[in-house]
Symmetry: C2
Subunit: 603 residues, 2 copies
């Protein structure tokens, strides 16, 4: 069975040494309870919950899947009990507002715990996972009454939430939705339509489910400007606020999926269901983005968690499995063969996972600091800067870390050889589970358009400059640091190139808008590699400094420097390919007609 240990030592390095979380928390109005001791205790306890409660249910949940019977969905065995423990432990409310039943700790802390949940049981994690987004939407856009009715229940995890966006004929293009909301009595609406791909749309973990549903009012304008957001509970709250009468929303069927079998992905039928408008009419898309941005960061963290899980288990296998002798001669002569970790290509696969895990963790925690500031920082320049940077980084976190996660889980399988393909080992499940992360909450292609089109080009590159200036400053400050030059010199070049590539696409796009789409995914991947390069350079600097000061555990810091070196030498060169592909332009993409594509096989 797969194993897991929360990466507490690495977290301590990133939070305490690299990003100075203690000072960051000290400056936050809601950070006073997040003292280093408390944080350490929470992370340790969270790691234990993930390992002891969630991990043992991961493979069984995958094999059992969910069952729909008489309109009710049964989650796999043990999921309900694990969820009760989760609620009793107070985990759902960790970072929520005390006014709404929360514990008021910084959001970043919840994100770290989320990595642990995703590393041990992604399918389970998707049940509470969407409640945050639903709560966010109600917190930002709900009426006082809606907040009073739903928010505390969601925050405490007594009820769970969903996001009902997608319909059979539309996912990305929500302007096409057909679900209708007709005004009814008492400011209610009667909602009718079909939603698909609704994660945790129906289940037996919590006593009620709060659906946030996109629908169109009768007089709505065409397209995405005519979408409104509604809250639709599974059970109508009674006078005491407890689940009362069943509402007209039900699960029509469960999807059979490649992975996350333990999560119920539902077709939800709304049949004159009673709902209430959240936010202004026809402004549903903006409200939805409140959920969406949180969800996108969350999916990036899923990629990170799966990367760590894959790394830890393929490392254990590589140390254990004996096969062939090292090319340079036997390393374990007393054994019938050497453990495969001696082989350079096995090490390459392990280090790829290690670098993506540690790099991804730095990126998430770097973005999480900004989220803390956006949520709780004082209005002003610092918060604006955090908002800008977080907007830029969100599509990178989402798409780059899920692409990296898929690569990492596949490298994990590859380390296992043929055994990786066998379910028993649990490695192929990580690949199947991670496959969805590149798709949901906006595919990699959609994230790439958000990054290059909306965030970078629409701001005339200003948003990007906020970030590259920071990196430039770092390189400049370390110019005299010869030991760090192997990192800062290539990084400085990349920063300059990033600007030039952006300008190049921007110029072309003025002639032809298709150039944006033609460059976008390569641009996103390029941006992701450079972003991680920046964080690895900082990590190397920090590690070198600690070593120079006489570290207590020098091996940890030496390994950190070497992982940064591996990243620069064996992963970062991929920017050479992406840069060239960005510059190649969209010409070869757009030349063929739709018919031309089929000429090799269509008769």
């Amino acid at each position: 069975m797969p194993s897991y240990q929360a990466p507490l030592r690495d977290l301590r390095f990133v939070m305490d040494e690299l990003l100075d979380y203690p000072a960051h928390y000290a400056r936050l109005p809601n950070g006073e309870d997040a003292s280093p001791d408390i944080v350490a205790a929470i992370l340790e306890e969270g790691g234990r919950f993930a390992r002891e409660v969630l991990l043992p249910l991961n493979q069984s949940g995958d094999q059992e899947g969910c069952v729909l019977e008489g309109g009710e969905v049964k989650a796999p065995q043990g999921f309900r009990e694990a969820y009760q423990q989760y609620v009793e432990g107070g985990w759902p409310s960790l970072a929520a507002d005390p006014a709404q039943g929360g514990q008021g700790l910084p959001h970043s802390l919840a994100m770290v715990l989320s990595e642990m949940i995703c590393a041990t049981n992604l399918a389970w994690g998707m049940y509470p996972g969407l409640s945050h987004g639903a709560a966010d939407a109600l917190r930002h856009h709900g009426t006082d009454e809606q907040q009073a009715t739903y928010l505390t229940k969601l925050v405490e995890g007594i009820w769970t939430g969903t996001m009902c966006l997608t319909e059979p004929h539309c996912g990305t293009d929500l302007g096409l939705i057909k679900t209708r909301a007709v005004p009814a009595e008492n400011e209610a609406y009667s909602i009718t339509g079909t939603k698909i791909f609704i994660s945790a749309g129906e289940h037996d973990l919590a006593e009620n489910i709060v659906h946030l549903v996109l629908a169109k009012l009768p007089d709505a304008p065409e397209g995405s400007k005519g979408i409104s957001l509604f809250v639709v509970p599974k059970f109508m709250p009674d006078a005491e606020g407890n689940p009362g009468e069943r509402n007209g929303v039900s699960c029509g069927s469960l999807e059979h999926k490649m992975g996350i079998h333990g999560n119920a992905t539902c077709v939800m039928n709304f049949d004159n269901a009673t709902g209430y408008l959240v936010g202004p009419p026809n402004k549903g898309l903006a409200c939805m983005f409140t959920m969406m941005n949180a969800a996108r960061l969350g999916v990036g963290i899923q990629g990170l968690g799966l990367t760590e899980a894959s790394y830890q288990n393929s490392l254990a296998y590589a140390r254990d499995r004996l096969q062939m002798r090292a090319l340079s001669g036997p390393q374990a002569p007393e054994k019938p063969a050497d453990p495969i970790i001696v082989h350079p290509d096995v090490r390459r696969m392990l280090l790829t996972q290690k670098a993506f895990a540690e790099g991804g963790r730095m990126l998430v925690l770097y973005a999480a600091q900004m989220l803390d500031v956006v949520e709780h920082g004082k209005p002003g320049e610092e918060r604006e800067r955090a908002e800008t940077l977080l907007g830029l980084l969100t599509p990178i976190v989402k798409a780059f870390l899920t692409e990296a996660g898929f690569e990492a889980t596949n490298e994990g399988v590859q380390v296992f050889g043929g055994h990786g393909f066998i379910q028993e080992w649990g490695m192929e499940q990580l690949v199947r589970d991670s496959r969805i992360t590149r798709l949901y909450e906006g595919t990699t292609g959609i994230q790439a358009l958000d990054l290059l089109g909306r965030k970078v080009l629409m701001s005339q590159g200003e948003t990007l400059k906020v970030f590259t200036k920071e990196i430039h400053k770092f390189c400049k400050a370390e110019e005299a640091n010869a030991e760090l030059a192997e990192f800062t010199q290539p990084l400085a070049k990349l920063i300059a190139e990033w600007g030039e590539l952006t300008m190049g696409v921007g110029m072309k796009a003025m002639q032809d808008r298709e150039e944006v789409g033609g460059a976008s995914v390569d641009y996103l991947m390029y941006s992701g590699y450079v972003t991680l390069a920046y964080l690895f350079a900082r990590a190397a600097k920090q590690a070198m400094a600690t070593l120079a000061d006489g570290a207590e555990d020098p091996a940890f810091y030496e390994a950190k420097v070497n992982t940064a070196r591996f990243y620069y030498q064996r992963l970062l060169p991929r920017t050479r390919a992406h840069a060239q592909m960005i510059q190649a332009g969209a010409g070869s993409l757009m030349a063929l007609t739709s018919e031309d594509f089929g000429l090799g096989f269509e008769v």
Copy 2:
């Protein structure tokens, strides 16, 4: 349900126009029956069999899987009947020696059909797929009596074959096997041991199964020099050569796998099973390589087939699915949204699959010509050259086309968005099925060591030069062809660089053998991209020439040139990354101790 049409037009281009198969067949001693008309008829009929018989069983086979009951394995519904049709149609014996019941057609033709089988039902294709290798081993190394007993039955498909190599504790490192063969009466051996991952080890498709088994004789030397090959039938042939008494070999269990559910992957228990030595004692590994090389080419073709399947189905979806408007304005204003094929990034994903399918097909058919010559050409310089080139290309075909196949099937899923994750569409099955191709018959890492270590460096680079000289000659001959310069100029540079990179690794490897393993996978991928670049340059030349001559269907040739252009502009730049990573060396891979790898999470 997924659809499939055999890519007959593209095959005609590659076989008739690009690689001049008619002349190639005319020169082969066994090529006289392979007239263009006959070839066309066979391919058309093969495509129909794949589409009408195999494709409808692909999804149902995946869902049903195989069942082991009372020691007998039931393949999914319809598999047995499809196999009977396959045998009745004479497909198994197409390229086999007429002396052994074969039809004597060139091997290359069977490889083309294999693409169609793999594109429509890989799990089914694995039942007959290993019979060829078993027959090859007996043909090359079996006694007259063994050939008389087994070969015709295998060739005609009345019986099927297996390759029993792997054991629980060893796959790559076959020197560690524990299965024992003890001499018994009448030149027989009594074989005892456990083999795992045996594809089609037990099933109900054919009346008998012929296992080719690696085992150790009592006095065998240690390691891979002490392995012998045995033939072990499931039922002992009786006096008439029909299945008689049950032999001591049985299926202990079926593996639960990520994909190819329709194929029975068996744990096979040999319990004093009667077997006969094939080839000389202790020379089993050499005999096994006879099977292995054929199997490796076969797995490369699996990668190609899955690429084509993914391409055709994601193309159909991209034409059908309406979502968003083109960035440059509505393309289908009469519809509620544009078909997603208008979007540049969707086109990038489709063209990536198209380029890998068409490039992979050229590579397979280029290698297949060499196999024809190796198998049937006159002894002499031409055959030696074919042997050398085929040896070089085999690990590239195997590893590059399966890596490309995995990428392609994932791009196929990505085109479908969230729907790609749903089993109903059949796209996620292609990903799961293709995942094994990177692992079995030697992982990508093993292929890479074979290419760089055994094929290239052990020959002091001479083997590579045979190939690069051909490419160099092509570039030289087209130097004045300005229209082709966009291909030949970068290609000429790559050829020079390929030599330099090889020399560089070779020099480093003289100091430290680990440098070979550190560079190998990047070297293999680099080699694959350059090899396809060569074939795309030739394809572009051919297409341009045909266009200049006034082609009947110019759109096909224009699309071919554009696909070559896309390949050069949007895939070939990956060589920039691989070249840099090769040059980076193994240093950052070898620095960490085994313990260092775990310092971030182990306590």
